[in-house]
Symmetry: none
Subunit: 226 residues, 2 copies
């Protein structure tokens, strides 16, 4: 449960919802060892429950050895959450082959607002475009000299940004005219579209990547375990 995809379980009683939400924050690393939880009254206000319910949930977290509580002080995380491994637990697109795969940087631009940088790249195999990738990352993470090592991952790491959670949607869309031209396909050709949003421990955006992938060359593979 820690490593892989989070099941979207239905939580019923307010107590169990609180427990699973806080436990998820702790296990995922959003709250890390030594961090102090908000006070019982603050938690009660934030989750719109009574203090009694909060205390009941905290008692459960204590029993799970996720937190300890000190009288007059507060509750503290006592569990080491593993940070997100870039490779594990993700749905990765696997190209069927591609010895002569190339990546072109189509452009790095500032988004109109929000202090985001748009990075567009095109991947080709055997001389033919196979995917188009549009990444939005915080402008503050990008040095004036451009991407670090020409890699988004390296740039984000250098800026100290680390994704700990996120979500991804996979669908099929017809290519619009502009994308079709870049990919050397007819407009309307169905392509795989993957949108991935990654967030840091504090919920700040780390990256949002929209990929258009040739369905003949890419498929998504995903392992799960409970």
């Amino acid at each position: 449960m820690y490593n892989s995809v989070v099941p979207e379980q239905v939580r019923h009683s307010k107590r169990s919802r609180l427990v699973s939400d806080l436990a998820a924050h702790i296990r995922s690393g959003r709250l890390s060892r030594g961090d102090r939880l908000p006070g019982e009254n603050q938690l009660a206000a934030r989750y719109s429950v009574s203090r009694g319910t909060v205390r009941s949930a905290l008692a459960e977290l204590q029993k799970q050895d996720l937190i300890t509580t000190e009288t007059g002080v507060g509750s503290f995380v006592t569990f080491d959450g593993a940070p997100l491994d870039q490779e594990i637990g993700w749905a990765r697109a696997l190209a069927d082959s591609g010895a002569d795969a190339t990546v072109e940087l189509l452009g790095i631009d500032l988004a109109e607002a929000d202090g985001l940088v748009v990075v567009r790249r095109r991947r080709s195999a055997a001389g033919r475009p196979v995917s188009l990738e549009t990444a939005l990352i915080p402008a503050s993470a990008v040095p004036a000299t451009g991407l670090v090592d020409d890699s988004i991952t390296a740039t984000l790491a250098a800026a100290g940004l680390r994704g700990v959670e996120g979500e991804q949607t996979i669908s099929v869309v017809p290519l619009d005219a502009a994308d079709a031209a870049l990919l050397d396909r007819a407009p309307g050709t169905p392509f795989l579209q993957a949108v991935r949003v990654t967030r840091a421990a504090d919920g700040a955006l780390v990256e949002q990547v929209t990929s258009l992938l040739d369905p003949e060359r890419f498929r998504f593979h995903l392992r799960f375990s409970s």
Copy 2:
């Protein structure tokens, strides 16, 4: 998928009317996953029946895996409209959950070898086929009378088979002639294909499900953390 929903037979008993009315609310999405049903006393008043009758109806809904009940709290919807899979949230297909979603059982056959049973089902929405599902499950899990409650999940659970790990592949494939005919599409139409293999703790096969999904109505959504 549940015969009990659609029988044309007149429902005379108050209990049956209650069951089918609530089930319709849930399946149509008017009550969606996680929603809390009115309390037993409120339901009794609203339907002008006794609380005993309400409880009997709720028990039936529980058996159909539409709701769960927590003592002291209430009953909650655990069915999410048009799910690809009832209980697992890793990669969930979201359909429009139209009010008139139906499931047809196309056939249950023994595979040539390996002691597997092949279950083929077709889902339709608004009268049009939207997905085709081929499930392979161990023959030993299937009673001679057929699926338990017309549900693969229920059948596997009744046989004590529980998936704890597995993998899933999502790709786009053109429909072959046979599938195209069943889905009322032109051969070659690109469809989403999801292949999911689930295994038990000892590595034994629990189920392998191959789904062909209308890319206009389905997409895969996935959350991940740590």
